[in-house]
């Protein structure tokens, strides 16, 4: 028995290993995801600063790329009153512009007291004015008071004047001004200062070149505008598009270093461009602050992994359930073979004993011969019956037999079966009643009697000797004929009822110790299904059972 048991294995170890593996993978996946996200956040911390820089520098860029070149649109016609309007809008729009110096500049080949002369080419301020936020403009210099232009004030002017003169000297007036020329000549950008001169048209450049290189009478005076903007980077508005990464953003001098030794504290920086180049954007956060962000990003990932894990578990459970059912089936088959062997063993051993007795006795009396003959005949019938049952059951199951329909007189048919049982078991009390209008019923009589004998056998088998009673009633309900088999036997538990029509299912009971295969009811159910009918059961333990068969009646119409 033990050897046979090992034939079909439920390998729990495998399942446990599988579960273990999946769980370990879950943990590893979580750990991996966490460390990746951590690295990702740390990378973001050092790379997202470009976004911040873009945001912060954006107004500066707008000022530099759009508002400053606008000076050129005025073509040198700006004077103290019109420039004030221009500067006013610059002050209101751009908080970081702290001061503007306006040099109303004249170009000629005259002799000038203040300014720059290259050959005959003279470039010098006529008026220098200072504009400050919320204060009245101050005139710092006028050419009517020569030699009062201070070096400090002249510094920015000279830078651009020298660049411009150098450009004029070598300018190719046949070509269109390139962007490089424009940037290198008309802008002077130093930290915190942008000086710009309006870009003259080509015609003027040609004239200026002539002024420089040719001997000419005193020329007309040409106007240029030079403006110096003082920029205060600390006034830039800081916007933080990544509040999840940066706890603090500030503008600091380029040389600034954080002296905080707190290991929890991390920082990064990025220098500002152009005239803001003396300063940098300084970013800092605490580790715990970043951890919050890491957790925020990790949570959905962890949940996703968990979801995959539970999915795997679900599949594992399904596989386990399948295995379980298979193992039950296997057990049923095993029981069946066991029973069958038993079933065959009894008649075979009876036949064997009878045979042995016949062989060993020298003489057989008539009585003995009749006795042995009867035994042999009966046991052979039993074997045959058993085999027929098996065979027909397989046939029914495979639908390989055909209904041989005949017209059956149900009353006669039932009475015959009952009569046969009364002869066999005189103490078995079988009664029956039938509706008067039911006469003929179309069905296969062999199959129908098979159903009857099975149910009557069962009723006999599962009744205590003093209560061997069965009542069969046959009624018509609508288009169906109802056959009720009501006994007063041992009955069944509620929980057994759903199993009794299964193959090889046997109720553990003293009434079926010999000669039960667990096929009878399954066979009945198959037969009735085959005849397009239904079978149901109700039962109470100790009180008895009632089987109801419903078969369609063709004559009911």
């Amino acid at each position: 028995m033990a050897a046979e048991k090992s034939f079909y294995r439920k390998n729990f170890a495998l399942i446990v290993i599988f579960l273990l593996l999946v769980t370990v993978s879950l943990v590893i996946a979580w750990l991996l995801a966490y460390s990746l996200i951590k690295r990702n956040v740390e990378n973001d911390f050092s790379s997202a600063k470009i976004d911040v820089q873009e945001e912060v520098v954006q107004p500066y860029n707008d000022f530099f790329q759009n508002r400053i070149p606008e000076i050129s649109f005025y073509q040198g016609y700006l004077d103290s009153s019109s420039v004030a309007k221009y500067i006013d809008t610059a002050f209101t729009r751009y908080a970081f512009v702290s001061k503007v110096i306006f040099y109303d500049t004249q170009v000629s080949n005259h002799k000038i007291k203040d300014g720059l002369r290259v050959n005959k080419f003279a470039i010098g301020p006529k008026v220098v004015m200072q504009f400050k936020r919320n204060t009245k403009p101050v005139v710092l210099f006028t050419s009517t008071h020569p030699h009062t232009l201070s070096l400090k004030l002249a510094d920015e002017f000279n830078k651009i004047a020298i660049k411009f003169s150098a450009y004029i000297e070598s300018a190719d007036t046949t070509k269109v001004l390139s962007n490089d020329d424009i940037f290198n000549t008309f802008y002077a950008i130093t930290p915190n200062r942008i000086t710009y001169m309006n870009i003259p048209r080509r015609e003027e450049i040609r004239i200026y070149k002539d002024l420089m290189l040719k001997e000419m009478p005193f020329s007309a005076v040409y106007e240029q505008d030079v403006l110096t903007f003082y920029i205060d980077p600390l006034k830039l508005r800081i916007k933080n598009p990544h509040p999840e990464l940066y706890q603090n953003i500030s503008i600091r001098p380029l040389v600034y270093e954080e002296l905080n030794n707190n290991p929890e504290f991390i920082s990064t920086d990025i220098p500002l461009p152009g005239a803001l180049a003396d300063y940098k954007l300084y970013f800092s956060s605490l580790h715990s602050y970043l951890n919050k962000e890491i957790n925020r990003r990790f949570l959905p990932v962890a949940f996703m992994i968990l979801l995959i894990y539970s999915f795997l578990l679900g599949i594992a459970y399904l596989i386990y359930r399948n295995l379980n059912i298979n193992s039950k089936l296997f057990k049923l088959q095993y029981d069946f073979i066991n029973n069958l062997t038993h079933e065959f063993k009894t008649p075979v051993s009876v036949i064997k004993i009878a045979g042995n007795n016949i062989r060993s006795s020298k003489q057989l009396s008539d009585k003995e011969r009749a006795h042995y003959g009867k035994i042999l005949d009966e046991e052979a019938d039993k074997l045959n019956d058993l085999m027929n049952k098996l065979l027909s059951f397989t046939q029914i199951e495979n639908r390989s037999i055909k209904l041989k329909e005949e017209e059956i007189n149900l009353e006669v048919f039932t009475q015959n079966i009952i009569d046969a049982y009364q002869i066999k078991h005189p103490q078995f009390d079988i009664s029956f009643d039938i509706d008067e209008d039911i006469t003929y019923f179309k069905s296969d009589p062999v199959l129908l009697s098979s159903v009857f004998t099975n149910l009557i056998d069962n009723a006999y088998k599962y009744s205590p000797p003093d209560r061997k009673m069965l009542h069969i009633s046959i009624h018509r309900i609508k288009k169906n004929i109802l056959f009720k088999f009501t006994d007063e036997g041992i009955g069944m538990e509620e929980s057994e009822l759903k199993h009794i029509f299964k193959k090889f299912y046997r109720i553990q009971s003293q009434y079926n110790q010999q000669g039960s295969v667990g096929l009878g009811l399954a066979f009945c159910k198959e037969l009735i299904n085959f005849m397009n009918g239904e079978i149901t059961v109700s039962s109470k333990p100790g009180k008895g059972s009632e089987f109801i068969i419903s078969l369609p009646d063709d004559y009911s119409l």
């Binding site: 759009n66 070149p69 606008e70 050129s72 649109f73 005025y74 073509q75 040198g76 016609y77 700006l78 004077d79 019109s82 309007k85 070509k175 269109v176 001004l177 962007n179 424009i182 870009i199 048209r201 080509r202 015609e203 003027e204 004239i207």
Partner: protein, 628 residues
């Protein structure tokens, strides 16, 4: 089955209908046909009448060809870089011709021998501009030229000997003379001086005398000397708007400065010019332009001559462009609104007309569209004239419209063949041209009404015109584009900036972006006119706020419609770095901009390939944005 046949018939019918409709529409004529160089143009006849010359493309540039009577045409010049801009016969053996630099600020003058094609450069090296006085009147082998050689800002008069090619100063400009006039003997006796705002007419009896002022007037008043009366030495013919709104042709006494009599005037428009015969010192006809150019004859012989020619060429506008010295043969040019016309040789003796050639023979005149004069009232009640050219076809309403304001205020649109207009009409657009206030030819008042109104009333006149088209259901209000060159380009950008919703797109061809730059660009030799420009356009220092308010370059943020901007790199009126900045900002605001820059070109594209590229872009731009 019957149903199916019925349906089939219906289908056939609709196909037929569609084809009929299609046939009514104009054939699409290739772009090149409109904008190619003329095949043969500028026919002239030699003084002895034995040769006929003309300009014809060679290597895609106009060159001079000469053809003897019954002979084959021979090419005289071989210019490959620039077209021959103008030419004329100085005598039977020699022709002079000019070429212009891209910006038209430098003129080169050459002579070419008719017999062997020898070319001589007539001017010393340097960058000058040349103006002709008494063109094609060679007196004593000498030709009068005004050249800004001594000082680029002033023109002196020189005598150029056509045989020796020597140049000799005839009159030095004290600095304020803007115009000279010589009499039939080649004596410079009349001049016009200007201080920028006020003009003075100067007169002398002979070159030995000094000029003396005859009368002075503000620049708004026009006194334009035409010629000398033969009857009296101190009498000249002139166009004058002194004490009147519309200029008239008058006889002026230069001793008293008084008008002796009014020879011709028109109640609606200025007299635009007069033809004067130097030979007999008589006026031949006066010209004026109502909806089309017209002549008022003052000489019966010529009147009959013109009437004879017009009889032979019905439905055409004709003009005599060249005659031999005996006036036995004439070169006649025709034109209409549908064709640039043809040249004919006419012999008055036998009234015979011989066709010399079409200016653009590839252009089918029957496919061109009629140009009709229209007029409407502006919002302040001024009558504005214009022209409307509707595309061919059965449609009469709801056209896609291209508005083309003319390129320069001191000018006007005329009834004539216009390649641009016909090209766009052929592509299915109605073309609307406007003589907005400030246009010349409608009198002093109308002209002065445009002063300092470049970005205001002159523009609202255009807007009013467009609204007038919409009210009269001519324009589909959702399919209107504005396109123009120079001032027209400025108007286009102004419309795109300050008339939101009116135009679907705007195309500017060398349009003025910035009035500051425009004022700054007035060349040194117009310095005297600067004050006048300050009055006409505005003073960049005093009117700075106004300039800023109406210059598109300051207002890119207001533009919402797609733009096409074509720009020559050498255009002095537009700073190319400004145009770049403008386009850059517009693009940054996600406005689709097609930006066409030709570094080597000036105000307008001169090279045919550049011109063609521009129009190809314009065609696609309009098609894309007007949904065709």
């Amino acid at each position: 089955m019957i149903k199916r046949i019925g349906r089939y018939c219906l289908m056939c019918l609709s196909v037929l209908l569609v084809q009929c409709g299609y046939q009514k529409k104009a054939k699409t004529i290739p772009l090149e046909v409109f904008f190619q160089n003329p095949v043969k143009t500028s026919f002239r006849i030699s003084p002895d009448g034995n040769y006929i010359s003309f300009l014809q493309p060679y290597a895609n540039r106009l060159n001079i060809y000469v053809q003897a009577r019954n002979g084959k045409p021979v090419r005289l010049t071989h210019e490959k870089e620039f077209n021959v801009a103008s030419y004329f016969w100085v005598n039977n053996d020699k022709l002079f011709y000019t070429k212009n630099s891209v910006d038209k600020r430098v003129t080169q003058l050459f002579s070419v021998e008719r017999a062997n094609g020898n070319v001589t450069d007539l001017l010393p090296a340097g960058n000058f501009k040349v103006l002709f006085l008494n063109q094609s009147r060679v007196i004593n082998n000498e030709l009068l030229l005004a050249i800004n050689m001594r000082d680029s800002s002033v023109f002196d008069v020189y005598r150029l000997n056509v045989n020796t090619c020597s140049l000799r100063l005839a009159a030095e400009n004290p600095g304020n003379i803007v115009d000279w006039l010589a009499d039939s003997k080649g004596q410079i006796r009349v001049a016009r001086a200007s201080d920028g705002v006020n003009e003075t007419l100067l007169f002398r009896n002979s070159e030995n005398e000094a000029f003396r002022p005859v009368l002075s007037n503000n620049f708004q008043t026009r006194i334009e000397p035409i010629g000398f009366c033969e009857k009296r030495a101190d009498c000249i013919f002139a166009l004058s708007s002194k004490n009147r709104d519309k200029a008239a042709l008058v006889e002026l006494n230069c001793s008293t400065g008084k008008e002796e009599k009014v020879i011709f005037k028109h109640q609606d428009v200025d007299v635009t010019g007069a033809s004067y015969s130097q030979k007999n010192g008589k006026l031949v006809y006066a010209t004026y332009e109502t909806w089309k150019k017209q002549r008022f004859y003052l000489d019966d012989t010529l009147k009959h001559l013109y009437q004879d020619i017009e009889k032979l060429l019905p439905g055409n506008e004709v003009s005599i462009v060249s005659t031999d010295s005996a006036q036995k043969q004439l070169i006649v040019r025709t034109f209409t609104d549908k064709t640039p016309g043809a040249y004919y040789c006419y012999t008055p003796a036998n009234k015979k007309l011989v066709k010399l050639g079409d200016i653009n023979p590839n252009l089918p005149a029957e496919e061109m569209c009629a140009m009709k004069p229209v007029s409407y009232k502006s919002r302040d009640g001024i009558t504005i004239n214009g022209y409307l050219t509707l595309p061919k076809g059965s449609k009469t309403k709801n056209f896609p419209v291209v508005v083309i304001p003319h390129s320069w205020p001191h000018n006007r649109n005329s009834w004539e063949y216009n390649a641009e207009v016909q090209f766009l009409a052929n592509r299915g657009y109605a073309v609307f041209q406007v003589n907005y206030r400030g246009s010349k030819g409608y009198g002093k008042q109308f002209w002065a009404a445009g002063f300092k109104q470049w970005g205001s009333k002159m523009q609202t006149d255009i807007t009013d015109g467009v609204n007038w088209l919409i009210e009269n259901k001519i324009a589909n209000p959702k399919r209107i584009a504005i396109y123009g060159a120079g001032f027209g380009g400025y108007s286009a950008l102004w419309g795109a900036t300050f008339e939101p919703g009116l135009y679907r797109c705007a195309a500017s061809y060398s349009g003025i972006l910035n009035l500051f730059t425009f004022i700054k660009s007035i060349p040194p030799y117009y310095r005297t006119s600067l004050k006048m420009y300050y009055e006409i356009v505005g003073n960049p220092e005093k009117d700075m706020d106004y300039f800023r308010a109406v210059s598109p370059v300051f207002h890119t943020d207001k533009i919402r419609v797609p733009l096409l901007i074509a720009q020559g790199g050498k255009d002095p009126r537009v700073n190319i770095s400004e145009a770049n900045q403008f386009v850059k900002e517009a693009k940054k605001r996600d406005i689709p901009v097609i930006y066409l820059v030709k570094d080597e070109e000036g105000i307008y594209f001169v090279k045919p390939e550049n011109r063609e590229e521009f129009y190809r872009n314009l065609e696609k731009f309009l098609a894309d944005n007007l949904g065709k």
